[in-house]
Amino acid sequence: MSKLLDLLTQNADELAGGLWVTCRLVAGAFAIALVVGTFVAALRIAPSKWLRRLGGIYVETLRNLPLLVLLFISFAGLRRAGVPIGPWTAGIASLGLYTAAYVAEVLRSGVFSVSKGQVEASLSLGFSYAQTLRRIVLPQAFRTVLSPLGSVTIAMIKNSAIVGVSLLALPDLLKEVRIIAARTFETTEAFFWAAVGYLLLTGAATVVFRLLERKFAIRR
């Protein structure tokens, strides 16, 4: 037990540094995922067939590639092609764009969860298509997607560890823990603190989404 606490106090700087790197990675990627995800979802429900197809290609490409492959292409591939992309940009962009594909699917399913009858009723009552989306469809869709969006966010926090083990070599929580484990040979204790760190982040995300769900819940 004291061994466990010693490891924490002796390596507090590295562990805190690693947690901070993971936080920044996750925060940046989350922002990109929300913006790009919303945009792609909009494409996927657009009235034009070609726009829908474009959104579909994005989702199917990004979602069907392992994140590690995406990281390798975006970093080593682009650099070899002469684009001087840094590990931070490559890491945040890859994780963000990858998660955006999932966000887009969640949002699309949310929009489709509002029955067609409501849209038809709204249009026949004289609302425009934009008004119908904004006043009838989106408020209801928002409630439906909160829970799956929370799952996607938690998955993204965990996926951030892949960025650290990849070629990008960002000093994230998992990487710092592995450095500590290699130096002290106290593998079990080091990984215990990695688990605690990730649980802190995923736990915080869970609480935030719970609160949002409660705030916007439909009383049934």
Binding site: R79, R80, V165, L167, A169, R178, I179, A182
Partner: protein
């Protein structure tokens, strides 16, 4: 008739898929069992690791898969080859068992010995006092020198020029400490394997790679726009890793290595894997384990 055709097609596709899987399995086992066990096996006292390995008819050895010329997968045959592998084979032959090679990275190999995933580690591992607390080492079987690898046009001339530069080395290797001491202002990029360091210096995301000269020579063999610069940073005696406290097995491994050094096999293996690239001649190391451990203190 039409449905019949579809059915045949399905069967054909399934057969092809199965065939492909079968093929893969075959090549995987081929990698695992490269050397045929020697005919006449030595007898060992019951209860020793040697007797246990003979009973199981195989020895699991952790080696590098991506570090030419010590341990690497031959792209043509899929077999693991190199200087470390020659020693591994010598040990397996002496036992009369089949060697099974698993990939040991710098940061998991000590764990492999502790939890019994590997019976022996031969993966360019430097003998040092810290590691000696966790595992036992054989007598040194090779002496490497720590060097710096840069691109031909980088302008870096030695360890003093590394300040502010990105330097790649493997997570869990001795170079993390070495670089922190000798180049405190260098930014370290710690990756899992040296092949990732090679990719990083080629794509320009790091400025230098620091590790053992022989590993760096392996990189120059693959890419001649790279070169070694500066003085020798450290002396790195390689030893085989053995589970802590297994005295009989250590004595056995030491004995095989001593024989390997004295009967000409060391020289032949050195010439085959290292000498032909460095054009340098080298004699088997005479450094003892004690001297090797004293180096790191």
């Amino acid at each position: 008739m039409k449905t019949m055709r579809w059915r045949w097609l399905t069967v054909l596709v399934a057969a092809l898929a199965l065939g492909a899987c079968g093929e893969e399995k075959k090549s995987a086992t081929a990698t695992a069992t490269t050397a045929a066990p020697a005919a006449a096996a030595r007898q060992f006292a019951a209860g020793t690791t040697m007797a246990k390995l003979q009973k199981e008819k195989k020895i699991t050895i952790g080696v590098k898969f991506d570090v030419p010329p010590f341990g690497f997968k031959n792209p043509n045959t899929g077999d693991v080859e190199g200087f470390d592998i020659d020693i591994a084979k010598a040990i397996a032959d002496e036992l009369g068992v089949t060697p099974k090679y698993i990939e040991a990275l710098s940061d998991n190999r000590i764990q492999f010995l502790k939890d019994g995933t590997a019976d022996l580690i031969l993966s360019t591992m430097t003998i040092n006092a810290e590691r000696d607390q966790e595992i036992d080492f054989s007598e040194p079987y090779f002496i490497a020198k720590g060097r710096i690898l840069v691109k031909n046009d980088s302008g870096i001339k030695g360890v003093a020029d590394l300040a502010g530069k990105k330097v790649c080395t493997a997570l869990g290797s001795t170079y993390e400490e070495t670089l922190k001491k000798q180049a405190p202002k260098a930014k370290l990029t710690l990756v899992d394997s040296y092949s990732e360091c090679l990719e990083s210096i080629q794509n320009g995301s790091v400025d230098a790679v620091s590790t053992d000269d022989v590993i760096l020579t392996g990189m120059i063999i693959q890419d001649d726009t790279l070169k070694l610069v500066g003085d020798v940073l450290t002396t790195e005696p390689y030893g085989a890793g053995i589970k802590q406290g297994d005295k009989e097995f250590k004595a056995f491994v030491d004995e095989v290595i001593a024989k390997f050094k004295s009967d000409g096999r060391w020289a032949a293996s050195y010439k085959k894997w290292i000498g032909q690239y460095t054009k340098e001649d080298q004699k088997p190391p005479t450094m003892t384990l004690k001297e090797a451990l004293a180096l790191s203190k």
